[in-house]
C-alpha cells in the first residue's frame, strides 16, 4: 500500500506559451537522456536531488498536452516572456490547466514557481511586463515564488532551480505521496537474457 519513501527524483514540468521560450530555457542544461527530457542535480540542504525537467515539446501550441504529461509532477514551473504581454496573461490559463489535468490532492498548496524569462533581450528595452506586476500576480495566487531569469545569459537560473527543488520537497513532506514500486523496463532490458528461466 502507500509507502512514503524519500524520493530523490523530482518531476518538474515547465509550462508556458510558445515552445520557443521553453526550449531556450531548458537548453541551458545538458541533456542527459533525450532532447525533451533533461535532468539537473541540485543540492538541497544535505540531499542531492535529481530533477527531471519536462519540456512541453511543442504540444502546448495547440493546447494539446495529454494528461500523462502532467501526471506525478512535483513542481510546476510557469514561464513567460517579459517582452510579450500575452505570455504573461496566459499564465492564468496554464495554472488552471495544470490544476485540472494534474488534479493534485491539495491544489492550494501545490508548488508553482513563476519565471519571467528573456530579461536580457535588447538590454531590457523591449520589456512590457514589469517585475512589480508579475510579483503582484504571484502574491495574488498564494505567494508563488518569482524569479527573473535569462536562460541565454544563465542569469538566476540556478537560484530558480534550487527554489523549485526546495518547494517540491516541502510538498512531498506535506503530502504522503503514494509511490508505487514500479518496474524499470530499461535497466533490466539491457542486462537480461542471462538465464531465461527462474
Amino acid at each position: 500500500m502507500a509507502t512514503a519513501r524519500k524520493r530523490t527524483l523530482l518531476k518538474v514540468i515547465i509550462l508556458g506559451d510558445s515552445g520557443y521560450v521553453n526550449k531556450k530555457f531548458s537548453n541551458a542544461y545538458k541533456a542527459t537522456i533525450g532532447a525533451d527530457f533533461l535532468t539537473k542535480e541540485v543540492q538541497v540542504d544535505d540531499r542531492l536531488i535529481t530533477m527531471q525537467i519536462w519540456d512541453t515539446a511543442g504540444q502546448e501550441r495547440f493546447q494539446s498536452l495529454g494528461v500523462a504529461f502532467y501526471r506525478g509532477a512535483d513542481c510546476c514551473v510557469l514561464v513567460y516572456d517579459v517582452n510579450t504581454t500575452k505570455t504573461f496573461e496566459n499564465l492564468d490559463n496554464w495554472r488552471d490547466e495544470f490544476l485540472i489535468q494534474a488534479s493534485p490532492s491539495d491544489p492550494d498548496n501545490f508548488p508553482f514557481v513563476v519565471l519571467g524569462n528573456k530579461i536580457d533581450l535588447e538590454g531590457g528595452n523591449n520589456r512590457v511586463v514589469s517585475e512589480k506586476k508579475a510579483k503582484a500576480w504571484c502574491a495574488q495566487k498564494g505567494g508563488i515564488p518569482y524569479f527573473e531569469t535569462s536562460a541565454k545569459e544563465d542569469y538566476n537560473v540556478d537560484q530558480a532551480f534550487k527554489c523549485i527543488a526546495h518547494n517540491a520537497l516541502k510538498n512531498e513532506e506535506a503530502e504522503d505521496i503514494y509511490l508505487p514500486d514500479v518496474i524499470d523496463v530499461n535497466a533490466t532490458a539491457t542486462t537480461k537474457k542471462a538465464s531465461g528461466c527462474c
Binding site: 533525450g34 511543442g58 501550441r61 494539446s64 494528461v67 500523462a68 488534479s103 514500479v182 518496474i183 537480461k192
Partner: protein
C-alpha cells in the same frame, strides 16, 4: 476557442487519430525525419485507446446510441477537370466508435443510491479498447525500450495466474518455481511438467535455425536436443502435449495459462479443448516467450507488464515522442473530408501491400487514387504525402473503395469490464484468471481471459478492482455468452434491496444474508459439470493432494456445502458493483492474441 490555423500546411505524413497504432507510426515517422501532423477530434489522446473514468465510459455508451440513430452514409464526391480528377470523401469522427464497438451495455448495479460503494469515480482508468498486459520478453516491450518511450511510462507486473477448476479459481503453476512450490501436484506430474517446460526452453525454433549455415545443420539442430519437444514442428501443439503424457488438466494449464492460446475449441462441446490450428512450433514459441518473460524484470515479477494509469498512457508516450521529434499534435481538430487524386494506371494495385500508403484501388471508378489532402472542421486544407487513419474510418474507406466487398479478415472480441469490491486473489492486485473452454456449463465459447487490476496500477481507487474479461466471439457468437457466464461465475451481484435489508438486520444483530446471486444462469456458477470433466481426467493434480485447504478440495460442491456455514465460508466472491459488456471489432486476428 478559435481554431488556430496549422502551419505549415503540407506534411510528409498526416495521421488522423491518436490510438496506439497511429501514435507508434507518428513517433517512428517523426524520428525518421519526416514532417508529421497528428490530429484527433477528441480533447484527449488515445482515441479508442484512451483510459476513461466511469462517467466517461457511461457517456460513450450514450453517445454511441445517439450517433447510431443519426448515422448517415456519406457519399464521396468526384470532381473531374481537364488535368485531374479529385474525389473528396466526407468522414464523420463522431460516429466513428460505432464502427469499433457493438452491443454495448452498462449494468450499473449500485445505482446512484449506493454510488459511494465505488469510491472516487475519477480514480478509475477504464480501458475499453484493449486492456494491455505486455509479455515481459515480447516485442512490444522491446519497442518501448528501443523507441525511448519507456521514459514516459511506468509498469507493474502480474502477480499470479488463476484458473477456473472445479467451480472455483485456483492458482496454477505458471513458472518452474511455482511448479516446485505447488502442493497439489503429484511428484510425477511435477516432473512431467518440468520436463516439458525445459524441453520447450531448449527447443531451437526456426528463428534460431535461420542463422544456421545449411539445411543439414538445421535438421541436426532440430533433433539434437536431448529430449526433443516435438517430433515435427508442424504437428499440432495438442499432439505435442499429449506425447509428453501431460494429464488433461496440465494440458489446459499449458495451453491457456502459459501459452495463452485463445483459439476456441474446434468441434462441439465434447470436452476436447483442442487448438487444432496451432502447430507445435508456434505453441513452443509461446511457452518460451512466457518463461522468458517471467522474472525478466526481477525475481518475483510475473510474466506480463501492465502500464500504470491504464493503456491510455501508451499512445500518449508515442505522441510525445513524435512531438519531441518535431511532429505537430493537434487535439480537438476533426477531419471532415479526405481528398484523393486519381493516379495513372501504372500505380494501380501497388498501394495495398504497403502499410500506410495512400493509394488504393477504387472498384467503382477503376484506377487508383492517391490521398493528397484532408480538410479540418475549421475548413483548413492540409496536404500530405501519406495518410494514416484510425481504424474507426475502416467502414468509410471500405464503402468508398471496395463497394460491395464484404468485411473480411476481421474478428470480434467479446469484452466485459467489471468493477468489484474485492480481489479475486487475496492480497494480490494484478492477477490473470483463465477459463479454459468448456469449463463453464452450457457454454461453448472461450477460453475466457480475465485480467484484474487495482489501485496499485492506478486503475481504480483504494479497495476497488477492475476485471477485464475477453473472449474471441467466433462465428456462432459463443464468446459473448462465455464472457457473461464467466462474469456470473466470478462475482456476486450487488443488490440494493438486500443491502438495505442487510443494514436493517445488522442493526438487529443478525448476520446479513450473504448470497445475493440470483442470476438466471446461476448454472454457470454451478461447478458440477465442469468438475466432472476436470476431475475424471485429472484427479491427481487437482484433488489428489488436496491439503492446501482449497474449497474445491474440501468439497466437490463448494457453493452448496459452504452455504449453511454462517460467516466466512459462504459466498465470498467479490461483489460486482458496475459492469459494461460489449463486443469490439479488431482488424486482425493478431490483436486478439495480444491481450495479454
Amino acid at each position: 476557442m478559435e481554431e488556430l490555423p496549422i502551419e505549415p500546411t503540407h506534411f510528409d505524413l498526416i495521421v488522423v487519430g491518436t490510438g496506439l497504432i497511429e501514435s507508434i507510426v507518428a513517433g517512428a515517422a517523426s524520428k525518421a525525419g519526416k514532417t508529421v501532423l497528428q490530429l484527433d477530434h477528441a480533447a484527449g489522446y488515445g482515441t479508442q485507446w484512451a483510459s476513461l473514468s466511469v462517467g466517461d465510459a457511461q457517456n460513450l455508451v450514450e453517445n454511441l446510441r445517439e450517433a447510431e440513430a443519426s448515422s448517415v452514409n456519406l457519399e464521396p464526391v468526384v470532381v473531374s477537370s481537364s488535368s485531374d480528377t479529385i474525389m473528396s470523401l466526407p468522414v464523420d469522427s463522431s460516429s466513428g466508435a460505432g464502427c469499433i464497438y457493438d452491443r454495448m451495455e452498462v449494468q450499473d448495479l449500485v445505482g446512484d443510491e449506493f454510488r459511494d460503494r465505488m469510491g472516487n469515480l475519477h480514480r478509475y482508468n477504464l480501458d475499453l479498447s484493449a486492456p494491455k498486459a505486455a509479455s515481459g520478453a515480447g516485442a512490444f516491450v522491446d519497442l518501448i525500450v528501443k523507441s525511448g518511450t519507456h521514459h514516459y511510462l511506468e509498469f507493474k507486473s502480474t502477480e499470479g495466474t488463476l484458473m477456473w477448476i472445479d467451480g472455483s479459481l485456483q492458482p496454477v503453476p505458471s513458472s518452474r518455481a511455482e511448479v516446485f512450490r505447488n502442493k497439489k501436484l503429484s511428484a510425477m506430474h511435477k516432473r512431467l511438467l518440468m520436463r516439458f517446460l525445459q524441453a520447450c526452453l531448449d527447443a531451437k525454433l526456426e528463428t534460431d535455425l535461420a542463422e544456421m549455415p545449411c539445411e543439414t545443420a538445421r535438421a541436426d539442430a532440430e533433433c539434437s536436443s536431448t529430449m526433443p519437444v516435438f517430433s515435427h514442428p508442424d504437428e499440432s501443439f495438442f499432439a505435442c502435449l499429449q506425447s509428453h503424457k501431460l494429464p488433461p488438466l496440465l494440458q489446459q494449464v499449458v495451453l491457456y495459462a502459459i501459452a495463452l492460446v485463445d483459439e476456441a475449441p474446434t468441434g462441439s462441446s465434447t470436452g476436447r479443448h483442442v487448438a487444432k490450428g496451432l502447430t507445435a512450433r508456434e505453441g513452443v514459441r509461446l511457452v518460451q516467450l512466457y518463461i522468458q518473460s517471467i522474472g525478466r524484470f526481477g525475481p518475483d515479477q510475473g510474466a506480463f507488464l501492465i502500464p500504470l494509469y491504464g493503456t491510455g498512457e501508451l499512445p500518449q508516450a508515442f505522441c510525445r515522442q513524435a512531438a519531441v521529434g518535431g511532429a505537430i499534435n493537434v487535439l480537438r481538430r476533426a477531419v471532415v473530408d479526405i481528398q484523393f487524386q486519381k493516379c495513372g494506371d501504372e500505380a494501380a494495385g501497388e498501394g495495398r501491400e504497403r502499410p500506410g500508403a495512400a493509394t488504393l484501388p477504387h472498384s467503382a471508378g477503376g484506377g487508383s487514387w492517391k490521398c493528397t489532402a484532408v480538410r479540418t472542421s475549421g475548413g483548413q486544407q492540409l496536404t500530405c504525402g501519406a495518410l494514416v487513419l484510425n481504424a474507426m474510418y475502416m467502414d468509410v474507406m471500405r464503402h468508398a473503395f471496395e463497394a460491395g466487398a464484404s468485411p473480411c479478415g476481421e474478428q470480434r472480441v467479446a469484452r466485459a469490464i467489471c468493477i468489484t469490491d474485492a480481489s479475486l486473489a487475496e492480497g494480490k492486485s494484478q492477477v490473470l484468471a483463465i477459463f479454459p473452454p468448456g469449463c463453464l456449463e452450457g457454454v461453448t465459447g472461450g477460453p475466457v481471459r480475465a485480467m484484474q487490476v487495482g489501485q496499485s496500477t492506478c486503475a481504480a481507487p483504494d479497495g476497488r478492482f477492475v476485471v477485464y474479461l475477453s473472449a474471441p466471439v467466433g462465428s456462432d457468437g459463443a464468446g459473448i455468452e462465455a464472457v457473461s457466464a464467466a462474469v456470473t461465475a466470478l462475482f456476486r451481484r450487488f443488490d440494493p434491496a438486500s443491502t438495505r435489508t442487510a443494514a436493517e438486520e445488522a442493526s438487529r444483530g443478525k448476520p446479513p444474508p450473504r448470497d445475493v446471486n440470483l442470476e438466471a444462469d446461476e448454472a454457470a456458477a454451478n461447478p458440477a459439470k465442469a468438475e466432472e470433466r476436470c476431475l475424471e481426467e485429472a484427479a491427481a493434480p487437482s484433488a489428489g493432494e488436496a491439503s492446501a485447504g482449497q474449497r474445491g478440495a474440501e468439497s466437490p460442491h463448494p457453493p452448496e456445502s459452504a452455504r449453511p456455514q454462517p460467516a466466512r465460508g459462504a459466498d465470498s466472491r467479490p461483489l460486482l458493483l458496475w459492469a459494461m459488456l460489449y463486443t469490439q471489432r479488431v482488424a486482425e486476428a493478431d490483436e486478439v492474441s495480444s491481450f495479454p
